[in-house]
Amino acid sequence: MTTELTCAGKPFNHLHASHCESGVTASLFQDKGVDLSEAMAFGIGSGIFFGHLPFIKMVGLPVTTYRSRPGTLFSKVAKRLGGKFVTKKYYNFPWKTDRTKEGMDDLRALLDSGNIVGLTTNIYWLSYFPDRFRFQFNGHNIIVLREVKDGFRVADPVLDHPVDCLTEDLERARFARGPLESKGYMYYAKSVNPKPNFRKACIDAIRDSCNMMLRTPFPFVGLMGMRYLARQIIKSPTALGVREARRRLANVVRMQEEVGTGGAGFRFMYAAFLQEAAALFGSDELAGLSKEMTSIGDIWRQFAVVSARVIKERGSGEETFAKAGGLVLICAGREEQFFRDLDSVAGKLKA
């Protein structure tokens, strides 16, 4: 853990997290003296999810997501733990089209008044990342600590140490256009409840997650989405040709492992949350469910390994697509049972 000074001269402990939004949320709470781990933030924000959305395309490929919509995690944690956060977005109006300067001035003023500020940015323009992680995605969260020469000191939870970011890069990253554009979104804590009711927050969050996974009446998300994806993978080599099928499968695995998920598309992080929750409630059932989630995560990892083999073995093996799809079906079956059990356990917990 690296310690860094903020603008106000207060020490700031850099948290190395596997996911940007839960990491930033946990960091902001820790900075205010609430002991909130990343996994706990992820669980309380109901971050776990699944969706395969064929009608939303990124770089020409259907979006597959293992987490809830960017932005909701933070607001749910703030609501459930009783944190008052000030948020600001810079909408464009016909008489006011470029608000970059205004946004950067506001950021500087906030830093000067001693706050640390969370920002939503476009990952492509953050040049401190290795090149292969940079792509046009407008939902990366970072914390700005203070201004330095030619730029800002930035705590990016995905990296294990704070970095410097050029002013020019940060301007572009904050006000980048495109799908899900952040419009310079920034947030900072006004006041945080020093003794939040973790038990109630956990129960609310677990029930919310179960609802999203089990009872969303929409065939592309939750468990229905998982089964839909499995069917798509199985028929993709005949429907799309092997080359295109490979690209799509690669994209699914990429979303699962690559984009800051802590492994297995957040499943391990959720298991870590359940383990903490089990300790909080002293519940053996939750501890058992945490183990179950870990083994579901292991199947997702296996799916990634099988898919990587399918992708690498050029020209051969249509049954391996079927095998990859089959693994997703197994995951769907296990997760359905898991969330049903979790739902009934959460119903018995007392806040």
Binding site: R254, A272, T294
Partner: protein
Amino acid sequence: MKVSEVPQDITYYNGEKRACYALDDQGNYVVVPSSGWEAEAIVNGLAMEDWEARLAQIRKEVLAGRQSPLSYYMELRQMTPKILGQTAGIAVFRVKRHFRPEIFAKLKPQVLARYAKALAVSTEELQKLPQTPKGR
């Protein structure tokens, strides 16, 4: 996933480490830094290869005079005409028109400057291809 199973296959993140959740010997979750996983390198490599192939193709088209350098720089920044149009404040149909070299050659300096700003290159750079095939 156990701590011993956290992939440390390759130094894939240019020296950076990513956090992974794994179980330690007592069965408790801990955060373990990982230096990279082979499976991840394969799937991400495919996406990168795709992009590099597209870039090389456009470079050829530009050299043959069938497309304007604007198209190359857009692909270099991994943008689509829609994103580029929004960033530069130019309608998408005009952006697409400007991919034609004869139309691009006649653009006013103001329009070029807007593209240059949106793509983070200088106006001079925008009018010709970079020397090396790839350079961010």
